[in-house]
Amino acid sequence: MTLVASAGNVLVWIVWIGAAFACLGSGIAVVSFSNPFFSALALIGNLASLAVLYLLLSAEFVAAAQVLVYGGAVMVMFLFVIAYIGPQQESPWAGGPSWQAVGAVLAAGALLIEIIVVVGLKASGGLAHSAQLGHAFGSPAEIGRLFLTDHLLAFEVTSIVLLVAAVGGVILGAHSRREHWGSAGSDALRAESTRPG
């Protein structure tokens, strides 16, 4: 039994290492590419590796939702927009390090180090023993039950937020009704539209 357990452990470890490195690598790739299209593709890889990690953490439904929602909807939307906008090349690391860059690196680095330190300190203590899970942990049934009983408020609020976002998307996407605003308004609008940002 222990051999199977230890083999399973080793397998999990291998998978974990692969997924973790893929995650980190794709994360860095998202931030580094100059072409947004490649960044979006890297993000898809990131999401996939995260789904694997979720699976390792017994959160099956969440992993599925991640792939469906994030990968299927959000990333598709991103790719659509990137395609619509067209090629936007930007040289992200051009020029010397401005104080903004230095500050950013310092802040992000500080955050990282702090969290790792704290986690490391607690690793042997509070984080040593995880709880024993029930059989239904992470299953859709369990998630559904929790949504409709303990966390009903979160459920409703999230749906309202989604509604708001939909409305916002519609408004932002609608063409401005130039012909209904009269000549003065349209002149101003036309002037504004040709003004560079």
């Binding site: 903004q100 500050g103 950013a104 310092l106 802040a107 992000a108 500080a110 955050l111 702090e114 969290i115 330190v117 704290v118």
Partner: protein, 625 residues
């Protein structure tokens, strides 16, 4: 008799108030009459007080009448009180009497001036202030009167305020008087500190020579400034910018003699500081020589008489400095008569010659102004001290008193005798230039006689009265034979010296001789034109520049102060005080702008701010946990 004193004090004040409040509702002549009447009433009040005192025994002659308690603080108390004693009554009579004559003269002299009402209001104010000074029952009121006469002097010197020279002279007079006021105030502070009271009697209870010296020095400073003695004398010649009656009243007869009165009134403290008293006498002697020399080269008729005033007050200071208080006061009285006479006569001359004051343009006025000629002659003889005119009796007693004071006294005595010679010389130089010889072309062209109406009468009558007083006024005391003035003032201020008869005769004889010598020299040079005036270019220049004292004060005091003031304006006022207001505004705006720089509008900056704060908060959170 204290009622008389109160009437004397308040009547001019009422006059001034009436003129001020009535404004243009009364005519100018009416204002003049009101002022003259108020001063005459004051004289009547003084006579009543005098009569009252006469009926009493000498040791009873000291009345203080308090209206109400004016200042009270802790254990200190000062009342609004008048003092009626021989000294104050004497001064009251002089001030109100001569004052009434001069104010009456002004009716004619100032006739036609646009601001006549203001003039008479100021004159009444002055008379009130001077009476307050001499009648004040304590040092506080004396100081109040002191300051107010300085104010009246400023107002009247600068009366013709369209003239910049008049304004400058008024400011100069006020500033120099202010120096004296400051030293006097310091002296009074010391008195309060030592005795806790400012009554005249408190001066007697000051013990300790340092305090007495300081107080006496402070009082002397005030006296020197007010009486235009060295070194605070430069304002008096410039004060001649004022109308002639003002020069007569304020700068000859009354205000400038306030210093002498002060020393006599506070003689107790001076006697406790004999060095200071000697200094006073020395200053008097120096001034009388100094002024006498300068008067030899003056060409403005009023300035000659002004320097003569300075010189004669030097005699008075000499007198009270050696301790001969009664003689100093006696000379004050006779000087008031003949100096006012001289000024008023000069005023008639100026009036007749269309306001010309330069004696080089005058000449031979004897034929045109015969009565004025006699008046001026009487005044001049009295000034030089020729028997039997007034000055003889008073001046010679002072010289005799100086003889009784030891070696230092002899030095002063010699100075006084030289001064007598100088007095004769400059006085009759003036007399011969103005009245002698042939009428000058200018005089012929511009002369117009006095009108025979109120104007002319109001100017002629006071001159006549003063001429009579200059003749007989001195006879009231002839030291070796009868001395009622000395007896009168004995209870107030006992003299420190009592010259013997041989000293009196010697002084009189020498003074008379030297005075006559001066007159003779003047006749030689200026009268008969027998000899040309000796020309010593260096001496002439020095005297014309008044020994360069004005230039000295300008260099030592005025230039550094104004440079300092300019430096302060540039370095302190503009940057610090004015600039600070502006800079506070600018700095606040800059601070706001600096903070506004945080609002870059850039998304990334805000995000960075959030990230950094998060990092910091995380550390805090972990540390606290």
């Amino acid at each position: 008799m204290t009622a008389g004193a109160w009437i004397c004090l308040l009547s001019p004040l009422v006059g001034a108030l009436v003129i001020t409040l009535a404004g243009t509702r009364i005519s100018r002549r009416t204002a003049a009459y009101v002022s003259t009447l108020s001063t005459a009433v004051a004289f009547a009040g003084a006579l009543t007080a005098f009569a009252g005192l006469l009926g009493e025994q000498p040791h009873e002659r000291h009345h203080i009448s308090t209206a109400w308690t004016w200042i009270e603080g802790g254990s200190y108390q000062s009342g609004l009180s008048v003092l009626v004693d021989p000294l104050s009554v004497m001064m009251m009579l002089i001030v109100s009497g001569v004052g009434a004559l001069i104010v009456a003269y002004s009716i004619g002299y100032m006739d036609g001036d646009n601001e006549e009402r203001r003039y008479f209001a100021y004159m009444s104010l002055f008379v009130f202030s001077m009476l307050l000074l001499v009648e004040g029952g304590n040092l506080v009121l004396l100081l109040a009167g002191w300051g107010m006469v300085g104010l009246s002097s400023y107002l009247l010197i600068g009366f013709w305020h369209e003239r910049p020279s008049a304004i400058a002279a008024a400011k100069k007079a006020f500033v120099m008087n202010a120096i004296g006021d400051a030293t006097m105030a310091l002296a009074l502070f010391t008195v309060i500190q030592k005795t806790g009271s400012l009554s005249f009697g408190a001066l007697g209870s000051v013990h300790g020579s340092t305090a007495a010296n300081l107080i006496a020095l402070g009082l002397l400073g005030g006296a020197v400034a007010k009486s235009a003695q060295l070194p605070l004398h430069t304002w008096l010649p410039d004060a001649m910018e004022g109308p002639t009656p003002v020069s007569a009243l304020i700068h000859a007869a009354t205000m400038v003699t306030a210093g002498v009165y002060l020393i006599v009134r506070t003689h107790v403290i001076f006697e406790q500081a004999p060095t200071v008293q000697d200094v006073a006498a020395g200053l008097g002697a120096a001034t009388l020589l100094f002024a006498g020399l300068i008067a030899l080269v003056q060409v403005d008729i009023k300035r000659v008489i002004a320097y003569s005033t300075m010189s004669q007050i030097g005699y008075m200071f000499l007198g009270v400095g050696v301790g001969s208080y009664a003689n100093g006061m006696f000379h004050l009285m006779t000087h008031a008569f003949f100096k006012a006479l001289l000024f008023l006569a000069a005023g008639i001359i100026i009036h007749s010659l269309a306001a010309e004051q330069d004696i080089r343009k005058m000449g031979g006025l004897k034929r045109m102004l015969p009565k004025t000629y006699w008046a001026f002659l009487i005044g001049s003889l009295a000034l030089v001290g020729i028997f039997p005119f007034a000055g003889f009796f008073s001046k010679d007693s002072i010289l005799a008193a100086a003889m009784d004071r030891g070696t230092y006294g002899y030095i002063l005595w010699v100075a006084g005798l030289i001064g007598t010679f100088l007095t004769g010389l400059y006085t009759f130089r003036l007399f011969f230039i103005v009245f002698g010889g042939e009428p000058s072309p200018f005089a012929r062209e511009h002369f117009h006689a006095l009108r025979r109406d109120v104007v002319g009468i109001s100017m002629a009558v006071p001159v006549a009265i003063l001429a009579v007083l200059s003749v007989v006024g001195g006879w009231i005391q002839w030291a070796p034979f009868w001395h009622p003035i000395e007896d009168w003032l004995h209870v107030v201020a006992e003299p420190l010296v009592s010259p013997k008869d041989w000293q009196e005769w010697t002084s009189s004889a020498l003074a008379l001789a030297l005075g006559s010598l001066g007159i003779g020299a003047a006749w030689l040079f200026y009268g008969a034109r027998r000899r040309p005036v000796p020309r010593l270019a260096f001496a002439q220049r020095t005297l014309e520049h008044k020994f360069y004292v004005d230039e000295l004060y300008d260099a030592v005091f005025y230039r550094p102060s104004s440079a300092f003031a300019r430096a302060l304006t540039a370095w302190v006022e503009r940057p610090l005080i004015l600039g600070s207001g502006r800079e506070i505004g600018d700095d606040t705006r800059d601070l706001g702008g600096w903070f506004a720089r945080l609002q870059t509008g850039l998304l990334r900056t805000y995000a960075l701010a959030i990230a950094s704060s998060l990092a910091v908060l995380a550390i805090v959170f972990v540390a606290v946990k």
